[in-house]
């Protein structure tokens, strides 16, 4: 057994992939601050600060807006497990990995799952969505606002309208959109939305902000059989974070400090200004990549402002280009996976990472790598 183990010395990576993404310095500093107990008034005050800020980034007035003690994937599982069970018929619109995972989690809950599928990277038209929902008459509908595997934005207006016409609730994955693009939970009609603490919120991964409509909470309260998931049970979590402050689990205090500061930065910037920054930087990066002769997987107006997916040009090798940017510029980004493995790159400009100087570095790096 060594008598002295060197402290961790992580390499400096410029994280411009699909996530995790750059963390704000103020957030790092917050995680070094002394923790308090999970039932301390100071901890509950942090939550009282966080909740209205989350409502602002989500675009909602939902009272049930809070933070789960798990990553974005735990948020998806919470959304599914609280509302999808053996008696549920769920329609999932799938054109990428994360929508597929909503279907897989629903299958595990014993639900009847209708997969409406398109090739990865495509979007669903209002007519296609409406037809599927009116035909299947599900009790739940799942979709992904910002598909991290493809870079696609899926509009949810027609989806939520059709779902509510047949009495279904809507689950929306907002992992790669929250804090960077307008989600407008209330205006769109989303019932259950989940996201993560990294990406648009500029914190490390580890927490999942969620919001649930009153309509969905009513259905949850009427649910007779217990949620199989105790850890992610919204009823129990409501008793902890809500008025009763009843002990549930020991929350990850330092991560909540981080999220408080990440959201404070958004409030200071202003949510509209933040959206505008992400859009402007997105357009600048796309123009630059197209200027280098790259073509995008996703057409306008379906592109995310956060995640850019150029097609790997004929004759260029995925890993060689990525290694060139990592070795020469310290930039870490990702390739595609599943059916898009070796076919696209995934370049993220999110939160703290959405900066002019990062765009300049990326374009310089790609120019060098592509001309090699």
């Amino acid at each position: 057994m060594p008598s002295s183990i060197p402290s961790l010395n992580p390499p400096h990576r410029l994280l411009l992939g699909p996530g995790p993404t750059p963390v704000a310095q103020r957030v790092y500093e917050a995680m070094g601050k002394p923790i308090v107990g999970h039932l301390d008034p100071f901890f509950f005050q942090i939550n009282e600060n966080i909740r209205p800020w989350l409502r602002t980034v989500y675009g909602t007035e939902n009272p049930f807006t809070m933070v789960l003690s798990g990553t974005g994937s735990a948020g998806m599982e919470a959304a599914v497990s609280n509302f999808v069970h053996a008696d549920t018929k769920v329609v999932v619109f799938i054109a990428g990995y994360f929508a597929d995972r909503i279907a897989e989690m629903s299958r595990r809950q014993g639900a009847t799952v209708v997969r409406v599928e398109k090739p990865w990277g495509e979007t669903f038209s209002d007519a296609e969505i409406r037809e599927a929902i009116l035909r299947e008459k599900p009790t739940m509908v799942g979709y992904v606002t910002a598909e991290t595997s493809t870079g696609v934005w899926q509009n949810g207006d027609a989806l939520c309208q059709a779902a509510h016409e047949v009495g279904a609730l809507v689950i929306a994955d907002c992992v790669t959109s929250l804090g960077t693009m307008p989600i407008n939970v209330d205006k769109t009609g989303i019932d259950i939305a989940f996201s993560c603490s990294q990406k648009g919120l500029s914190c490390p991964p580890g927490l999942s902000p969620i919001t649930v409509s009153e309509r969905a909470m009513e259905r949850l309260r009427a649910r007779k059989e217990s949620n199989r998931t105790w850890y992610l049970d919204f009823k129990l979590l409501d008793e902890y974070f809500g008025g009763q402050k009843r002990y549930h689990h020991t929350a990850p205090i330092s991560m909540f400090y981080a999220l408080h500061e990440g959201l404070a930065l958004i409030m200071e910037e202003g949510i509209e200004e933040r959206f505008a920054r992400h859009k402007a930087n997105h357009l600048e990066l796309i123009a630059g990549l197209e200027g280098l002769g790259l073509k995008m997987l996703v057409n306008n107006p379906h592109r995310l402002w956060t995640l850019h997916t150029p097609i790997i040009p004929e004759g260029k090798d995925d890993m060689t280009v990525r290694k060139s940017l990592l070795d020469n510029y310290g930039i870490d980004f990702a390739g595609g996976f599943g059916p898009l493995a070796g076919k696209i790159w995934r370049i993220g400009l999110m939160g703290e990472g959405s900066k002019k100087e990062n765009i300049a570095l990326l374009l310089e790096g790609f120019k060098k790598a592509l001309s090699a």
Copy 2:
């Protein structure tokens, strides 16, 4: 919207309750270090470092020893949901809140649950355990090594032996024992053990170290129906943290940095030396509390070295005493809850918190408060 939101300024609490517990300075520093990606070789190296250290603190050679991206409560849910389902008969030995929760999680999975109960704070004798297991012939047995609600250590030797005689696997809650008392997973015969990153490991809450025996992994591999919990599915997690490094979720990188440093501190101290420190400080605190006329809820040899539960003397008020120690010494500890609410205090000396100077402060504080 405020143009400038003050940075968080948490109060300094000396956390000497049941948890969360004091965090080592080296751990705080680690969380301020730059994050890398969840598929970065540096991140997998951290895991390769962590895993043998966890085997040392657990006392096991289990290959499947890893870290879940959730708190200790998520660890309990993972242990239950991977092994308890509709076809399972589970016996749970309950003399406190956390054992009760194993039963509740099992009930939610649709299992047949046999609750073997005693009043909170008592222990089960070898004969009682053996009789119940041989009578019920369950497929799973659950118990708590260190009951955080009462301060009781439950020996597991006879339990594991009887369980294996009838072909059952054993789940053991090690939340308040790991890193402070010998658990001896292999020698005892525990099949699935879970814990948390705070308490004995001196990190903030947020992660759950687990270990699973080969016997249990075989049963898991033979399980036909999918685990309902995707997020905590050991088969999928094995593909991520194991040889294949297949993407599952985005791990909370900063928390893994923290755990790396918390475990490094244990390795530097030496596990036997650490156990001895906890035992010596435990004995010193008990002697001091008894010297002040306090009686303990738990008799020897069933006392935890981590959590001390003096009975609140007649005529003394729970909250008045706690407020006195908080106001005069900054010491935050807890009262009892459930059937022990208002009847005991819960005083923790764990990991970074198990120090001579904390004992001196505690005793000074209690002397002052009790004579008031």
